[in-house]
Symmetry: C2
Subunit: 400 residues, 2 copies
C-alpha cells in the first residue's frame, strides 16, 4: 500500500524542523555548534538533582512512578503559580489557570489545537521560532509574518495585517530575548499589542522561556501582567532555567481556554512525567533556584559579551549582529544577497555550525543573509575558536 495517500491534510506537507535535523547531524565529535538552543551543560545541577531524584523515589516512589493528574503535580503547580504571582505576571484569584506541561512547546501546541481551525490566521514574528511556526502549520493555520524591529514587532505593519486579514485569531510572540533575534519588545509596543488585540479581537501567545535570563538592562513587564481581559496565553519553561531534558514547562491562561487545553493534554500524553515534576520540586525545595538562575545569568552574560567581542574582532565589518540583554541567542546579518544556508554548509565542513535564517522564516525556501548564533552551550574557548573560523569564512564570502 502507499501509505502516503493516507496522510492528513494537516501533516502531508510538513517538513521536519530544520534545526532538529541539523542537531542530529552535529552529533559528531569536535564540531563547535552555535546551532542549538541548549543551556550550558556545565551549569546543570547534576548532583543536587541526583539527590532529589533518589530521595523522591526512595521516599515517595509509589507516587512518583504512578499516574498523576493532567494539570500537574500539585506542589510544583502551586510553586509555579506563586512564582508567577510574585513576579506580577498573574494575580491570586484572577481568571487565569496555571498548569504544568511537558515543556514549553506543549503549551504552544495545546493552545494552538484549542483555538485554531484550518484557515485561521496566526501572525508570527519575522524571524521567529521554528517550533512555533511548524506547530501552527500542523493545524493548517494561515501564517502571516510581521517584521521584528529593534524594539519588537512593527505595530503599524501588524495593524495593516489585521485590517487586511479578518481571519487573524492569534499573534505569536517571544517578546523577551526573542528566538532567534535576541530582541526584547519595548513596553510601549507591548501596550500597543494589547490594544490591537482588543481592537481586532485576537489572542496573544506570549512565549517567555528566556525572560528570567536577563544579564543587562531592566526588566520589561510581561503582557500577561497587563492582561485584564484574558487575551494572553502565557507560556513558560523550566528548560532554560533548570533542564530541557526533564521536559517541564507551564502555561497560564484564561481558565475556560485552559479547560480545553487540559482535555487536549489528556489525549496527548495524559499528564506530564510525575517523576520529573517531583524531582524538580524536590530540587527547588532544597536549593535556591534563584541563586542557580543568577549564576546562569552571569555566565550567559559573559558568554554573550565575549561572543560579541569575538565577532567584532574576527567578523568582516559588513556582517552585523544584535546585542541582546539576555537569553541565549543573537542574530547576524550578512550583506544582502549572501545565502546563509550555503555559508552554513561550508561552515559545517570547517567544523562550525549555526542556524541559517531560512529556518526562522515563514517562506523558508527564499534566500536569507541572516543566521542565528547561540552562545549558551559552547565554552569560551570554543566561542573564540568557532568565531575565528566563521570570521575567516565570512570574509571569503563577503569579500573583505
Amino acid at each position: 500500500m502507499n501509505i502516503q495517500t493516507k496522510f492528513s491534510d494537516k501533516v502531508k506537507d510538513l517538513e521536519a524542523s530544520a534545526i532538529r535535523e541539523i542537531f542530529k547531524l552535529l552529533d559528531k565529535p569536535g564540531i563547535i555548534s552555535f546551532a542549538g538552543g541548549a543551556p550550558d551543560p556545565e551549569l546543570f545541577p547534576c548532583e543536587q538533582l541526583a539527590k532529589a531524584a533518589s530521595d523522591v523515589l526512595l521516599k515517595q516512589g509509589k507516587v512518583a512512578l504512578q499516574y498523576g493528574v493532567t494539570e500537574g503535580y500539585t506542589p510544583l503547580r502551586n510553586w509555579v503559580k506563586e512564582r508567577l504571582i510574585s513576579q506580577g505576571i498573574i494575580k491570586d484569584g484572577d481568571f487565569n489557570e496555571t498548569i504544568i506541561v511537558s515543556g514549553g512547546q506543549q503549551g504552544i501546541d495545546l493552545a494552538a489545537k484549542s483555538l485554531l481551525n484550518p484557515g485561521d490566521g496566526v501572525v508570527c514574528e519575522l524571524p521567529s521560532f521554528i517550533g512555533g511556526l511548524n506547530c501552527f502549520r500542523s493545524y493548517n493555520a494561515e501564517i502571516y509574518g510581521v517584521t521584528v524591529k529593534s524594539d519588537g514587532i512593527d505595530m503599524n505593519e501588524l495593524e495593516e495585517l489585521c485590517k487586511a486579514h479578518p481571519n487573524i485569531k492569534v499573534i505569536y510572540t517571544i517578546s523577551t530575548f526573542q528566538n532567534p533575534s535576541g530582541i526584547t519588545m519595548s513596553l510601549e509596543n507591548r501596550k500597543k499589542l494589547l490594544e490591537l488585540a482588543e481592537k481586532y479581537d485576537f489572542i496573544i501567545f506570549e512565549d517567555n522561556p528566556y525572560g528570567e535570563l536577563r544579564f543587562d538592562g531592566e526588566d520589561v513587564r510581561t503582557m500577561k501582567s497587563m492582561d485584564t481581559n484574558g487575551r494572553v496565553v502565557y507560556l513558560g519553561s523550566f528548560s532554560k532555567i533548570l533542564s530541557p531534558g526533564l521536559r517541564l514547562g507551564f502555561t497560564s491562561c484564561h481558565k475556560d481556554l485552559m479547560e480545553r487545553m487540559i482535555i487536549c493534554k489528556q489525549v496527548q500524553d495524559v499528564h506530564t512525567n510525575v517523576f520529573a515534576q517531583m524531582t524538580a520540586y524536590e530540587y527547588i525545595k532544597n536549593n535556591s533556584i534563584d541563586e542557580h538562575i543568577a549564576r546562569l545569568r552571569m555566565v550567559y552574560g559573559e558568554k554573550c559579551r565575549f561572543m560579541c567581542e569575538c565577532m567584532d574582532k574576527y567578523f568582516p565589518a559588513s556582517v552585523t549582529h544584535t546585542t541582546p540583554q539576555g537569553g541565549i541567542f543573537l542574530f547576524c546579518e550578512m550583506p544582502e544577497g549572501h545565502d546563509s544556508k550555503e555559508v552554513m554548509a561550508k561552515a559545517v565542513e570547517r567544523g562550525v555550525a549555526f542556524v541559517p535564517g531560512s529556518t526562522t522564516m515563514i517562506d523558508d525556501k527564499a534566500v536569507y543573509s541572516t543566521f542565528r548564533m547561540n552562545y549558551s552551550t559552547a565554552s569560551f574557548e570554543q566561542i573564540e575558536k568557532g568565531i575565528k573560523i566563521l570570521g575567516d569564512l565570512l570574509k571569503e564570502e563577503v569579500g573583505e
Copy 2:
C-alpha cells in the same frame, strides 16, 4: 471577551475524560478504587530505579538533562526495537520504524494527527478506551462502533460498517486483554481483520499496553507480526510493565508514516523526557525486566482470580463478569435497564469506586448497565472489602 467563541471546532464540544475526572475525586483517603487503570504501586522497583536515576545524573547528567533527539534515546530505542524483533512483532530491516514516545497515549495521538482529516471514519470497539475515543474526537473524526464479543471484534458487523462508510480510514483495537473488557481477540479474527484492512483499505491501530501481562492461556500473535503491507500501527507502553509516572511508550509503524509522526512529535513536545528514558534504560541494563514482568503477571493473576472469586461470592447472580487471561481489567454487566452511572454515585458514597460503562462507549449519554473493574491497583484486602460493599449495593440495585 468571551474566549469560548474562539475555540476550535476540534475541541469546543470535547469533554474531559470522565475517568480522569473520577480519578481526581478519588484522591480522598480510605476510598477503595477499582476505577483507575494503574499498576500495583507495591510492585514498583523504587530502589532499583532510585539507583538508576542517581547513577544516570551523576555519570551522564550533561546528557540526561539536555535536549535529546525526537526519536528517542538511542540505547533505549534500540532495546525496544530488539525486543520487538525477538518477540516476532517486527523484523530486522523491514519497512517499520520504531520510536520512543511520551507514553502509549502519545502514539495514538501522533498517528491520529498524521492520518485523520475532519470527517474521516474511525472504527472503535464497543466498549473501548476513552483516551482513544477522545483523541479521535479531538481531530473531528467520525467515530463508528463495532461490538466486541468474547473473541474480539464482530467481523461481520465490521464488514457491514466498511461497506456502508467508505470514509473509514482507521480501526482502533486493543486486541489483547482489552481495556475495558479484558477480552483477547482470537487469531482467526486478527487474520480476518488484516484481510478486511486490505479489502477496505484501512489502517489498524493495534494498541497493546497489556500484552506482556498474560497470566493464563497462550499468547496470540499480534497483528503487527503478520503485517506484510504496512497497515498496522503498533502502540506499546512502559506504563504497565515498569511505571506510568515515567511517561514512556513506543510506537512502531511504516517508516513513511513515522516520518510524519516524528514531525508532529517535534511540535508537540520536542522529544520524550531524556532523564526518564536514560533511567529506564539504566534499570533495564542492570536488572531483569523479564523477572519483574513475571512477578507482575503472577500477582495480577492472583488478584484477578481473587476478584472473580469475590464477585462470585458477593455479587448477585444476575451481575456477570468477564474472566480475562491477562491485563488489569474485567468488565461487569448488570441486568438491562440498570444505570451503572447511578450505581457508581452510590458506590462512591459507600467508599468504593469503579468506571461506569458509559465512559467506554461512543454515545456516553445513554444508559449502560456495564462497568469496568480494575484489579491491579487495590490490595487483596481491599479487593475483598470493596467487592463485598459493591455486592451489597448491587443486590439492593437488582433486587436479589
